[in-house]
């Protein structure tokens, strides 16, 4: 494959990669930076990537690894967003919208408590709609491990106090 193929792949995959990164991180800035970094690596590794049967899955692996790398690098978070309860206490009463925002907030916080692998499995399964075999390819692991991560993730989410309502 030549550069034109790389260009085509990036053009086709970039919007979906950005959405995946945003779903995984919940952070617009981080999603942009992560995918930007991945694009640079794709360029330098294109000859290897071009030989793959499913380069789209490999790109998601690169995004997943990059997100993990960012989290490892910047592991000390000193600024936290206000919780849904704090915001709700200050907000005007708008029940429907408030419920949606609150649900988003509690689930996002519960997702943040999962391990990186569990969170990746959840996003790949419930946002990307990949099956266990495809998720295993993205994460470089086995189907059984994917199922185990998914099971533990759902169990953790089910029992998270803030998720139960």
């Amino acid at each position: 494959m030549d550069v034109d193929d790389l260009d085509t792949l990036v053009r086709q995959q970039l919007p979906a990669l950005l959405r995946y990164a945003a779903a995984l991180t919940g952070d617009r800035d981080l999603a942009g930076d992560v995918v930007q970094e991945v694009l640079l690596r794709v360029h330098s590794r294109w000859r290897r990537i071009a030989l793959l049967e499913r380069p789209d899955l490999y790109l998601r692996r690169m995004v997943t690894n990059e997100v993990t790398s960012w989290r490892r690098r910047w592991h000390v978070r000193t600024v936290r967003p206000a919780s849904a309860e704090v915001l709700a206490a200050r907000a005007d009463p708008l029940p429907d919208h408030a419920d949606r925002v609150a649900d988003h907030d509690v689930l996002s916080r519960a997702l943040a408590q999962l391990t990186a692998r569990q969170r990746s499995v959840v996003v790949l399964r419930y946002y990307e709609g990949l099956d266990d075999g495809e998720i295993a390819q993205v994460l470089g692991t086995s189907r059984a491990t994917v199922r185990s991560h998914a099971s533990h993730a759902l169990a953790a989410l089910r029992t998270a106090p803030e998720v139960q309502r």
């Binding site: 945003a22 930007q36 910047w74 649900d103 996002s108 997702l111 996003v123 399964r125 099971s151």
Partner: protein, 318 residues
């Protein structure tokens, strides 16, 4: 996008299947909301393109420095402010708000162009770095007018042109906002021996027009402050942190004091920059970690980066 809802863990008791399905639906909804945060693809691509060019220039500078000894060492050890902050920095930001206009290119006096100068048009924006209300989708180029050609783009940057030059050229050539068009077309012209109607480096860096950036630098903050804030706010680059800080300063907020540990983070950041500037990547870090029996590739990046900063070498090639 096809979304398939899978059954929850096989070990779930029957009584929990209903709640599992509900949880999966809630998860899908939240993840869709999060995905909607995604920045615009053309902007990310433009920023990646510019960052790639910056890294190539750094690599070339580092390689030249290795040949020139002390001069090269100084270049790596004392990078320019905008180079350091530009680790994930876009090359140029569009004017924000209606009162700021884009910079018009100044054609080189040694060249002649017959193309009329169009009305000033906003350059491509990087909306995920700008305040939401300042984003103007109309200013973005959704599709370059030409196919990407890496050789042409390399020729463009290697001739000393900058992203701001590309924006200026794009305007001159009546493809406003399409920096890719200018880089590819200009690079092809240069490779064929033709000159361009804009001198290398002649277009002002549009970064100075970003109001947040102005607010940050005019308040007296510098690169180390930006890197310390990036660490404090868990942001991926000094530039992103500088913009956030600039917006907070503009809003009348006070910036937090850097933590005592920030200094070491700044040094680590410089080591990482030296590593990247020399052209090394994650695979190299893994190789070096194995070679030096270090625990993680990140430790190899820091160790290797410190060596490179000190003018020493590492035992693998990028």
């Amino acid at each position: 996008m096809t979304r398939t809802h899978h059954a929850a863990g096989s070990g779930a008791p029957d009584g929990s299947r209903g709640s599992d399905a509900q949880l999966e639906q809630r998860l899908s909804a939240v993840l869709r909301d999060r995905a909607a945060l995604a920045p615009q693809a053309p902007s990310v691509r433009a920023a990646a393109d510019a960052l790639g060019a910056l890294r190539r220039r750094r690599r070339q500078r580092a390689q030249a420095g290795a040949l020139l000894g002390v001069a090269g060492l100084l270049a790596v050890a004392a990078p320019r402010l905008d180079d350091v902050l530009g680790a994930v920095r876009p090359p140029a930001l569009a004017p924000v708000g209606p009162t700021v206009t884009a910079t018009s290119p100044v054609p080189s006096p040694t060249t002649v162009t017959t193309a009329p100068t169009p009305a000033p048009t906003p350059a491509p924006t990087l909306p995920w770095l700008l305040p939401q209300d300042a984003t103007s989708p109309a200013a973005e180029v959704t599709e370059p007018a030409v196919a990407w050609n890496q050789d042409d783009v390399d020729a463009f940057y290697e001739a000393g042109y900058t992203y701001a030059d590309a924006v200026a050229l794009a305007e001159l050539w009546q493809h406003p906002g399409d920096a890719t068009y200018a880089k590819v077309t200009g690079g092809a012209d240069l490779r064929s021996g033709a000159s361009l109607p804009v001198a290398p480096g002649s277009a002002p860096d549009l970064i100075g027009q970003d109001l947040a950036w102005e607010a940050f630098t005019s308040a007296g903050y510098d690169v180390e402050d930006a890197l310390a804030l990036a660490q404090l706010w868990q942001m991926p680059s000094g530039y992103s942190a500088a913009l956030k800080a600039g917006r907070e300063l503009t809003a009348g907020l006070k910036l937090p004091e850097p933590t005592p540990s920030a200094d070491s983070s700044v040094h680590d950041g410089r080591a990482r920059q030296a590593w990247v500037a020399a052209g090394y990547d994650d695979q190299d870090a893994q190789d070096l970690a194995g070679l030096w029996a270090l625990g993680t590739p990140d430790q190899a990046v820091l160790a290797g980066g410190h060596n490179l900063q000190g003018g020493q070498t590492v035992p693998i090639q990028p």
